[in-house]
Each structure stands twice: as C-alpha cells, then as structure tokens.
Symmetry: C2
C-alpha cells in the first residue's frame, strides 16, 4: 500500500495520544468525584505535563510531514483514517499557529481569571472580573486572527465546538427562536395559569433516589457493566472509553425530580458514548462529534423522552411504589404538567425546557458582540439585565445571579454557549424524525427504551466523530439544522399543557 | 554554584517523573476502587505508555551523564539532592542493565503467569502454574547476574524492597524467630487453653462499621481533609502525594474486628505517608523508605497500639455504644484476649499476630532455596506442606490454601515476603524505644494518639526516603534491626494472655 510507513508512524502517535487522553480523563474524573481538595497542586502538575506531551505530539514536525503526505493520498485511505488525519491537521493548526509565549501568557491569564471571576461572583461585583475579561477578549481576537485571518473571529471558536457552525447560520436560528419562543412565553405568563407542583418539593429520601437513578439508567439502556453512575455537585459525563463510560448525577432531598432529570440528561450523553462503533476505539474518533450533537442526545432523553406524557405513564407508577406517601393521589396528567411547568428564573442550569434557550440567546448575543467589539465589557451587567427583561421578563437583583453566574467566559470559552441551544433544537428535529419510524409513544408508555436507543445508535451514536454535525443531521433527519422543529415542538407541548390557543 | 546546569536539568527530569508517577497512581487507585472491569484494556494501554515514558526518562543518556557529574560533586549538593541522585542511579542501573528484548519477553511471561497462577489456584492444581514459575526463576537468576554478578542473586532482589538487606542478616533474623516463636506457639497449643471469641462473629451492621472506621482513622491522627478512606477487597494504601493519601479497608458483617484492624493497619501506612516532610514533595523521596519500614508503621498501629490491653480500654466502650447488643456484658480483658487469640491457620493474610511471621518464614526459606537452585519447583507443594507442619503444626488439604495462595511469585516478586516479617520486628523494636520516651499505656487508654504520632513522625515518618532503613532504625531505636525485641514482645504478650509460664 502507498504511504504504508507514514500511516503506521501516524497510528503509533495516535496510540500515544489516546493513552494521554485516557490518563487525563481519569485524573479529571478522580478530581470531580472524590479526590481530596488538598491534592490539587500535584494533580495540576501532572495534568500540565500530560498536556505538554499532548502538545508535543500534535505539533511534532515529523508527524506533520506524514499528515500532509497522508492528506494528499486520501484516496488510498479508509474513511476512518482520512477523518483522523483531518482532525489531527485541524488540531495542529490550532496549536501551532499561536506563538508559545503568547499561549503561556494566556494560560496564566485564564488561571487568574478563574479566581477573579470566583471572587466577583461571591461579592456580586462585576468590576473585580471585568479587567481579566477584557484581556481575555483582546487575546482571543488576536488568536482568532492567527488561526484564520480571513474568517470572522467568532466563527473560528464556534468551529472548535461545533464543526461547520457559523454566525450566519446562528443568526437565522436565534432569529426564529426570538420570534416564536419569546411570544410563546409571554402568552403563557399572561394567561395567568398556575400549575400546582408542591408535591415535587416534599421530602424524598436521597438513598432511595440514588437507587432509583440506577434503575432508571438501566431502563434507558445503559450498560452498568461498562460504566459507572456516581455523584457530583455539577453532573457530567466522561466517555473515557466505549467500555468505560462514567456519569454523575446530583440528588436533592427537597427537589427529587432534578435528580431523575439529571440521570436522564447525563444518561443521554452516556448512551451516545457507549454506543459508538467499536471499530473507532483508540482512533480518537470514539467520542461524540460535537457539543451540539452531544447535547441533542442528553436533551432527547431528558425532555423529549422523560418529560413526555407517554413516559410519565410509565414512570409515575414506579415512583409511587417507592414514594407512596409523597405522591399519594397524584394523577399522570397532574404529574406531567407539574414537571413541565414554566417559570422564568435567573439561573440557566435550573431553567425549564421552554425558557432555557432564551438564557442561551442572551449569552450568544452578548458574546458575539463582545468578540466583534460592538459592546464594552464595562456595560455587560446593564446589557445582561436589559436582555433578561426583554426575553424572559425578569431582571436579576444582583450580578451573582446575572451576568456572573456562568464560569465559561472566565475559561475563555466563547462560542460554546450556542451549542446548548443547538442541542435542544437538534433533539426536537431528531425526535420528529424518530417518530416517523416508530410508535414512540407506545414505546415510552411501556418503558421499552431498546427501540429508540437502537434507532439513535444507527442514526447518530455509532458514528462517533466519523461524521460531522451536518452529516449526522442529514443521516438522522434528512435535512440540516432547522429551528422549525424545535419551535413547533415547544408550541405544541406548552400550549397544550397551559390549555391555550 | 558548581554543576548548576546539571542540577537544573536533573530536577526538570524529576518533575516529569513525578508527574508520570502521579498519573499512574491515580489510574491504579481508580482501577482498585470503582472502575468498571470492562475498561481494563484502555487502562493497560495507558499504563503501558506511561511506563515507557518512565523508562525513557530514567535511561536517557543525557540525564545519566548529568547524574555522574552530580555524583562526583556530591560535596556541593544538599543531602536531599545527593539522595535523589543516588536513587536515580540505582534505578538507571536496574533498568539499563537488562537487554530490552529480554525485558519484553519477561513482561510477557509475567502477564501469562498471572493467568496460569489464577487458573492453578482456582483448580488447586500446582502443575498448571509450575512451568511459568520455573521460567520466572530462571529469568530472575539471569537478571540478577546482569545487575550485579558478584552479589548473591537473592540479595539483588532484597535490596529492591529493603535497601541494605542481605541473606546474611535475614538468616540471623529468621533463625531467632524459629528458635523462639515456634516453641512459643507449641507451648500455647499444648496448653489446651481455649479463648472464647464467639461475640466477634455475630452480625455487625456494615454501614456502622464504615462510619466507625472513619472515626477511628481520625482518632489515630489521620487528616481526612488530605486523604480518603475507601473500600476494596484487598485493603491497601496509596501515598499519591503528602497532601493526597488514600487508603481502603474491607468490612465483613460477621467478622467486624477485621475491618477495624484493617483501618488501623492501612492507617499506619497512611500516617507514614501523610507525615513526610513537605520539603520532600516532588523529589521522588516523598514516600516511605522501604517495604519493611513501611510495614513497621502499619504493624505498630495494628498490633502494638490497637490490639493492646491499654487501647482496648479506650476502644471497647466506644464499640459498645454502637453495638450494645452484640457486646453486652463483654469485659475489657475478655475482649482483649478474644482479639488476640492464637489459632494456626492456612491463609497468611488472615493469620494472627503470633503465627504471622511463621507464614513468612515458610515463604522465605522456599524462595531463597528456589533462587539458589537448591530445590525444584515441582517439589514445592510437598516442601510447603512439610514446612507448614514443622512451624505451624498444620497441613493444608489442598494447594489453593497452600503454596498457591499468594500472588507474589507469579508477579516475579522474590525477596518481597521477608519485608512483612521485618515490619513486625521493626514495629516491636520501635515500640520498645517509644515506651522509653513516653507513658504509652496512658496515652493508649485515653485514645491520646497525638503523642505517639508526633514521636513516630520525628523518628520515622518525616524522613520519607531520605534515610535508609538502617538509618531509620538507628534514629528511632539507637540500634540496627534486632529480633530480640520482637520475640520478647511476643513472649511477654502471649504468655500472659494464655496464663502460661
């Protein structure tokens, strides 16, 4: 075979990289799920070293020569190898175009910003964080230029999290959300309809919640022999390996349904990671293809499946078995409406299904304008509050629960927030497509989750990062991202719940 | 300063090594405490890669040149740096003298032997394992020659686990044990005295045991803000970092005191790791100096402290608070005698304090003779059983609970077993020295464990690997290893317990 040597040499580097990524994943899992806080210094040293090894492998000139030879001979390579080559070249360009000293300075800045953001949030004083944020934005604009001077800087970052995503596409997307969801929310608020849900905040034994969480996860199709469900303050999923997928949930005695939703949400991420084709193991393509597509899988399980009327019919009798007192006399319809009640609130991560994308819209508009230099950092609190009022009809009383609530910007994560809304939209679009292929309501009512999982595996999961988000969308739904499905779904669901229209 | 460049360059390599060791420690901790079995392949890949990085750093010729320059200029270096240089040179010699292809073949052999040993033990058929064991011994003899052809091969391996230990010293040591402990045991058995301990095997709630384990560990002086107590089938301690020391225990509903002893034993190891001088962090000297000295700290906490009459006075009332039913009417003396009752048994890890060193003696005599070529592998079951009869007065009915019970030889660990007995002997010697400096009985009765911990920290812990085992012994007890203390202690304790002499 042509370029046999180059391919072998490339695959040897891939193996090293896989080993480094594995070790970093375990260190990070350990840090989130039990490591004593005091061990942070040693861990940071080790992660720093592993990161430098990663950097050295990616930017190695010998590897790079091989990559360009392989790229030119793409016709003799398999799809998998071509995709691997492509992703390595992308990573090389990302890491190699920024001067090392500027990267070191930036990492220091980020490290400082983490603390200034924490302090600012604690004291609810934006000015403590604003200086670092300004520097971050200036640096990111410069980095974007280095990486691709002909592209819009925000597009450069978007592409890191969602390959192929651009401002142009997002403008269309959010425009439709603004036009349809903002009035929908207003209509619901103006209706004055109040949904009773006080039974959700009674006392629910936490140990029982944990046991139920594990049963639910298994019911959804997760293989507990090849993964772990653990606990952490901020739930997350870590697809360490197809054979070792780990997720966490959180449990609140007085808000038990958040624990269930958390298992369903992370369960969706985890099922994606667990059902990637085994042929992709060790290729660096054995993870979800993008943040948006990943979020679509968590959202479809959390919202489209678990918060549906059909699944409530399956779930409620089971919940009544373990919590007979708390749920005494609660009907299916009543429970369904309670878990779907809409209430504009300040904190994104606690938002309901309908208001959630509006929280994202606020962040998207602000971060895009920041990168474009159209607004000033100093004016952020004011701008934030104005947008909150415009889209959600509420104004936070302080910046802690306003502009300072999210960690992302302090990490330099710009272009990341939109993927949360894209996830919900993709979920609705994929769900729509799935309903054409099966009687999903009957499946959900019976808790027969094998069928939808099989469908999602064929249409989405198994490809890992072999396909782009656009290709996944086409494969699963026959078309590219289309916000109609999401808006239709929300209108249909919430107008019914609120007996409107 | 002279050799400034060489020192800086050396310390940079030390940093890398520390980061690799940290990552390997976390991966291993993760594997033992919760990782799904299915993830073993990816983990093995990653550990293999980290090990190869470790190997490459140690055997790097550039580093080696620096090391020899630094060694020649030891007069300008600090004690710490001199010791670091020395330990790196030792490790270099160990890794560099064995031809790479032979090492690769050996690693394959070990990997195979693990399985053949498991199968042999399961089927209680020594012949399944004997072929691999023969190969391991042949290879080890060859490796010992490569590493130091003028030394006794068994001494080469001893030195890996216990710096400075030799067959000559061990012969004296075990000779005294044989002369004094074997007759002591015989005397106890022949006396016909039976100590009642049936209350120890009643049902004790496991969750309560776990909570008590944590309280006990804290009482012993362990800082739970800088470590974790977890659970595993085979308890162990991992001193990942002075600020991150992790240990596990096991709990048995019908044998609750094993859980307490396990916490005390691993707690002793963990206290050692937690009280190493902070100046040694990141130097690769921030772990216990040898297996024997390490074991002395686990044994002093397990046996000399927690199984003493004085500590029983502190412990029993606390146990009665949580297990009032099970311990109703049990007196201090009765409890003390029960937890110290002597019963020859087949399994080393379950042995009591008195018979434990005899289990080690069996293994020591056999493995030394194997390395010397004085006995044949095929005759091991027979030899094993004969020695068990001679020293413990019992003969296992099959090889599963006889010669096949321990994993060590299948891993190629020869020269490792003696350190277990050395640990108990060092513990008695150190305990004897400690009693001269403080009223330990009063401290134990009051559960005032700060004092002995402070003493041990000053005499043993704080030095990490800066001092050799001999230096630690001299520092803590004023003399080198002397089996008298151990034998005196055992005679004194057990003759009293059995009302003999």
């Amino acid at each position: 075979m042509k370029c046999k040597t180059e391919l072998e040499s490339f695959l040897a580097e891939v193996n090293k990289l896989t080993s480094i990524i594995y070790a970093k994943s375990i260190l990070s899992w350990d840090a989130e799920t039990g490591a004593p806080r005091s061990g942070a210094v040693a861990r940071a040293e080790s992660i720093g070293y592993l990161s430098s090894l990663y950097h050295d492998i990616i930017t190695n000139e010998e590897l790079n020569k091989n990559l360009y030879i392989l790229e030119k001979n793409s016709d003799v390579l398999s799809d998998k190898h071509n995709k691997m080559v492509k992703s390595f070249i992308k990573e090389y360009k990302k890491l190699n175009t920024i001067p090392k000293d500027e990267m070191v300075a930036y990492n220091k800045l980020i490290s400082h910003a983490k603390h200034s953001w924490e302090e600012a949030r604690e004291k609810s004083d934006f000015s403590i964080f604003s200086k670092d944020l300004k520097k971050i934005i200036t640096t990111l604009r410069k980095f974007a230029k280095y990486r691709d001077e002909n592209n819009h800087p925000y597009n450069v970052f978007l592409d890191d999290y969602e390959e192929g995503m651009t401002i142009d596409k997002l403008e269309v997307f959010f425009e439709e959300l603004k036009e349809r969801i903002v009035p929908l929310l207003k209509k619901i608020i103006d209706s004055g309809v109040k949904i009773g849900n006080s039974f959700l905040t009674e006392s629910y034994d936490v140990e029982t919640q944990k046991q139920f969480g594990e049963v639910l996860l298994k019911d959804l199709g997760f293989d507990l022999d090849k993964g772990i469900l653990s606990e952490s303050t901020h739930p997350f999923t870590n697809g360490i390996d197809v054979d070792d997928v780990r997720l966490t949930s959180r449990y609140d005695e007085n808000n038990f349904f958040t624990g269930i939703l958390s298992v369903a949400h992370e369960g969706g991420h985890a099922l994606y990671e667990q059902n990637i084709d085994r042929d992709l193991i060790g290729s660096t393509l054995d993870n979800g293809t993008s943040l948006g597509i990943h979020e679509s899988q968590s959202r479809i399980y959390e919202n489209n499946f678990c918060k549906s009327l059909a699944f409530t019919k399956f779930l409620l009798p089971k919940l009544k078995e373990i919590y007979p007192k708390q749920l005494d006399g609660v009907g299916v319809e009543e429970f369904y409406r309670a878990i779907n009640s809409v209430q504009p609130s300040f904190i994104r991560v606690d938002a309901d299904e309908l208001t959630y994308p509006l929280h994202i819209m606020v962040r998207y508009e602000i971060e895009k304008a920041l990168i474009e230099g159209e607004i000033e950092v100093d004016n952020l609190p004011e701008i934030w509050n104005k947008k909150m009022e415009e889209y959600l009809g509420i104004v936070p009383e302080n910046d802690s629960i306003g502009v300072l609530q999210d960690v992302h910007w302090s990490f330099g994560l710009f272009g990341y927030f939109p993927t949360y809304a894209l996830g919900s939209a993709y979920a609705a679009q994929i769900f729509n497509s799935l309903t054409k292929d099966m009687d999903i309501n009957t499946a959900l009512e019976n808790g027969d989750m094998v069928k939808p999982l099989k469908w999602l595996t064929e249409k989405v999961h198994k490809f890992g990062s072999l396909l782009t988000p656009d290709e996944i969308s086409l494969n699963a739904t026959g078309e590219l991202l289309n916000a109609d499905y999401f808006c239709d779904y929300l209108e249909d669901k919430f107008l019914k719940i609120y007996n409107l229209k």
